[in-house]
Amino acid sequence: MMLLAKAALGLGGTLVLAGAYTMREGVIRVDVDEYRSGGSHVHMWVPAAAVSMAMHFVPSKHMRRASEQAREALPVLHAIIKELRKYPDADLVEVVDDDQHVHVRTHGGKLQIDVDAPDEKVHVLCPLSALDDVTSQLEERSPAA
């Protein structure tokens, strides 16, 4: 019993530390529902820190290609995200008509994009810090850097 308790404490402590480290930046949530035949339904929930951690393991040739493709947009994206972090709770864009609703805002330091239309629903929630990490890493690994 004592041995089991010690093992449990060790395992629990490790899991807690790993969990706290992984969750420190929050989670990325992506929900896509297309209401048509063959429409896709994607529901994804990923710890934000895991994404930037995983990027370190992406082969450099793939990273170079990705940053090459995004080369023009990266400085703009980086500047937008860096500035948006100063505005953790702000409504940026809202489009409403009789059957659609599009909302882009920052909420609790996360970028939130909601699209509610009769044929599809898209909800994306991503911590700005994670987006900043991703764009910074892409910029660092670009061929020009």
Binding site: A5, A8, A20, G26, L84, A90, E94, D97, G108
Partner: protein, 222 residues
């Protein structure tokens, strides 16, 4: 004596077993608590963040655009942009005519009008009406008033009246033309705009759309 020591020793064993079990149970409970703790922390942080108010300071200036369409779909568009964000992002855009926060203008686009001289003339002129056109089709008025350039157009054609009013502070116009020849300094104009008080810049009203562009310190549209 030996009976007493034996009794004490057996009591010690019982206590030892008891405390060992208690310790093991409490260790298991602590482990379970530790395992559940991150979820609590995540839940707390998310509820905390939802409660937290905006940290953008009152000195932040926001540019708002609102379009309300009164057609069958009743579309409403609201865009709120922090001026500081626009100031920082514009210089990073290098596409076509926009470079380093400045936009190039060709002579062809201004029909050989020396815009710089025109702006200088308006800037040094006293307040007053520069252009007034009144006809059956439309009324046009261009004036300088309280250091603002005002353009007012009233279109009276086809019974579908539309009204456009543009009101730009002179300091913003000065900043816009502060760059070199044949270019407009958008970043300088935005910077000058951020120093202005709450003001309405553009207002368009016609039979099916209302457009309003204004500047204030609120981070949400009213």
């Amino acid at each position: 004596m030996s009976n007493l020591s034996r009794r004490m020793s057996s009591r010690k064993d019982v206590m030892s077993n008891c405390s060992r079990g208690l310790l093991a149970k409490s260790t298991l409970a602590a482990t379970a608590l530790l395992l559940l703790a991150p979820f609590g922390v995540v839940a707390q942080s998310s509820s905390g963040s939802s409660k937290s108010s905006s940290t953008s300071s009152s000195s932040d200036r926001w540019l708002h655009v609102r379009v309300i369409s009164s057609d069958a779909k009743g579309e409403t568009v609201r865009v709120n942009v922090p001026l500081e964000l626009a100031e920082k992002v514009l210089p990073t855009i290098n596409k076509d005519r926009i470079h380093g926060g400045k936009v190039k203008i060709d002579n062809a686009h201004v029909n050989d009008v020396d815009l710089r001289a025109l702006v200088e003339a308006i800037r040094t002129a006293k307040d007053g009406e520069f252009v007034t056109v009144q006809s059956n089709d439309s009324d046009v008025r261009v004036a300088k008033q309280n250091n603002h350039l005002i353009v007012h157009v009233l279109d009276k054609q086809n019974s579908k009246r539309s009204e456009v009013e543009v009101k730009v502070p002179m300091k913003v116009i000065d900043a816009l033309f502060s760059a070199g020849k044949d270019e407009l300094d958008l970043v300088a104009a935005l910077h000058a705009l951020s120093a202005q008080g709450d003001t309405e810049l553009v207002s368009v009203k016609d039979h099916e759309n209302t457009v309003r562009v204004w500047l204030d310190s609120k981070n949400v549209t009213d």
